[in-house]
Symmetry: D2
Subunit: 164 residues, 4 copies
Amino acid sequence: MLNRVILIGRLTRDPELRYTPQGVAVTQFTLAVDRPFTSQGGEREADFIPVVTWRQLAETCANYLRKGRLTAVEGRIQVRNYENNEGKRVYVTEVIADNVRFLESSQSRESGNASGGGDMPEPPAYGGGGRGNSGNSGFSRNNNQDPFSGDGKPIDISDDDLPF
Amino acid sequence: MLNRVILIGRLTRDPELRYTPQGVAVTQFTLAVDRPFTSQGGEREADFIPVVTWRQLAETCANYLRKGRLTAVEGRIQVRNYENNEGKRVYVTEVIADNVRFLESSQSRESGNASGGGDMPEPPAYGGGGRGNSGNSGFSRNNNQDPFSGDGKPIDISDDDLPF
Amino acid sequence: MLNRVILIGRLTRDPELRYTPQGVAVTQFTLAVDRPFTSQGGEREADFIPVVTWRQLAETCANYLRKGRLTAVEGRIQVRNYENNEGKRVYVTEVIADNVRFLESSQSRESGNASGGGDMPEPPAYGGGGRGNSGNSGFSRNNNQDPFSGDGKPIDISDDDLPF
Amino acid sequence: MLNRVILIGRLTRDPELRYTPQGVAVTQFTLAVDRPFTSQGGEREADFIPVVTWRQLAETCANYLRKGRLTAVEGRIQVRNYENNEGKRVYVTEVIADNVRFLESSQSRESGNASGGGDMPEPPAYGGGGRGNSGNSGFSRNNNQDPFSGDGKPIDISDDDLPF
DNA sequence: TTTT
DNA sequence: TTTT
């Protein structure tokens, strides 16, 4: 009935942009979100939370996000499941983001990052990429497939499987 | 840095209350949260999201929640991981709730439910069980162990492992 | 950059549906949200929070919400200001809702309410009215005018003033 | 029943720290939060949302926040009302924050700001000041008084009026 | 393994 | 497999 998540954390790696065979953009990244307390041993721990974005927002994220960048994400929790190669059902929990805010521009940091990156233009004033005046619903409708389980192989879903 | 989740959904079963060997109460249940759109085939789907509560709130949830009951949950996403019996790392994502609201009292429904239940007193005005004036922090601090992986066997963590 | 509100409370009165001169539907209601603690004197207090919905969602709310009904609202805080008849600037804070969930159907309560009401059909499975597959953005874009300040008089804004 | 707000924006001025006569710290500041769309005329508008923090968190905010700083705030909406000097009831809506995150440290910006500021130590790893391991509930319980309405005059509320 |  |  209601499912809303808001996270602020840092990307553990550069985002991964892929396309479904029908050309729908999908970007995945993981946010490291520090826990609000220290563990028994006094170390600060973090949760590593997978985030998925679709379409226009996916391309904006792929263009402007980089490893280590502080980022805010708004979306919903999605729990998918699939049968793995040993016939076991595997559950995957991800945050499907419909709004992403870039809290650090490229020049506000030392600007060195693992992926090189090079020419990084300024992010758009509104990074949400989809909500607002764009005429796009800005609401990543669904994705009950796993575009990342293939590990680099082409994704064999058709646009008919995509609920938008 | 920030990690907040709000869900409204229905319990898929009665909640499960357990105790750590040191007597700390832990309650687990799963919320079925309808997705805000229908799938390709036109069926309404749901996400099944595991929720964990600790201490006083765990006992309140075990007392007042039942299968099918409409419930609001506020908390944070936690991602644990452990090595399973085949030596493979398994990731478990749960919502650690620090606030739970009972949106249906027992008499507001047909009152029949799988678990029988019988004498169900009215829930407290404030179901959060922990926040507020109770002198309790109301913030489920941590739980990096998996009290449910043992499937009924005693939970072998000590209170020293609990960060509260 | 990010502005998100989630409320669960009860309507203090029946919702008020109006139309701009251009025929855009606007519904206003107030949610009474109990505070999570009692006051000094031990009384339970509440915040009375004004909520505004636009367009399709406005009509759905006007159709299905009634005084006393438990309701969840998702949206953003908006602060408008205008000059009153004494030339003083007045600030008005409202929640502009883009998602509303009806947590009580008409038959789940005594069904008597101040406004009479009468024939109340079941709410749609998805009360959000706008998000999802409807092709509507579901995101109430703006409203920097005050459709309620006229107190019953026609609202003199043109559709050109509406940012959608 | 549930009342949660999450904001990301920039301080419009330096925060104002005051103390009740009984020595309870209260800090007030306003966040400018850009709207996710542009107005009719194409200008980007913002909501100016007043935020209040209490006790330990108030002192941390006063120490580490400055005008212009990007800041995340988590809390609840509170609506107070009081009678003004003309006998009219005035409604004041504020976000009572229980968690504040400093998204920009002093060195990550040009470090020039209107208030001078000077020696600004690094913020604590956890800016929430209250939640977590501190033994403090971290939940700003109430404040039904208006510590800012006096405009600089001493605040005439007693600790008995404070619900904590 | 799933709720209405 | 993880970020600062």
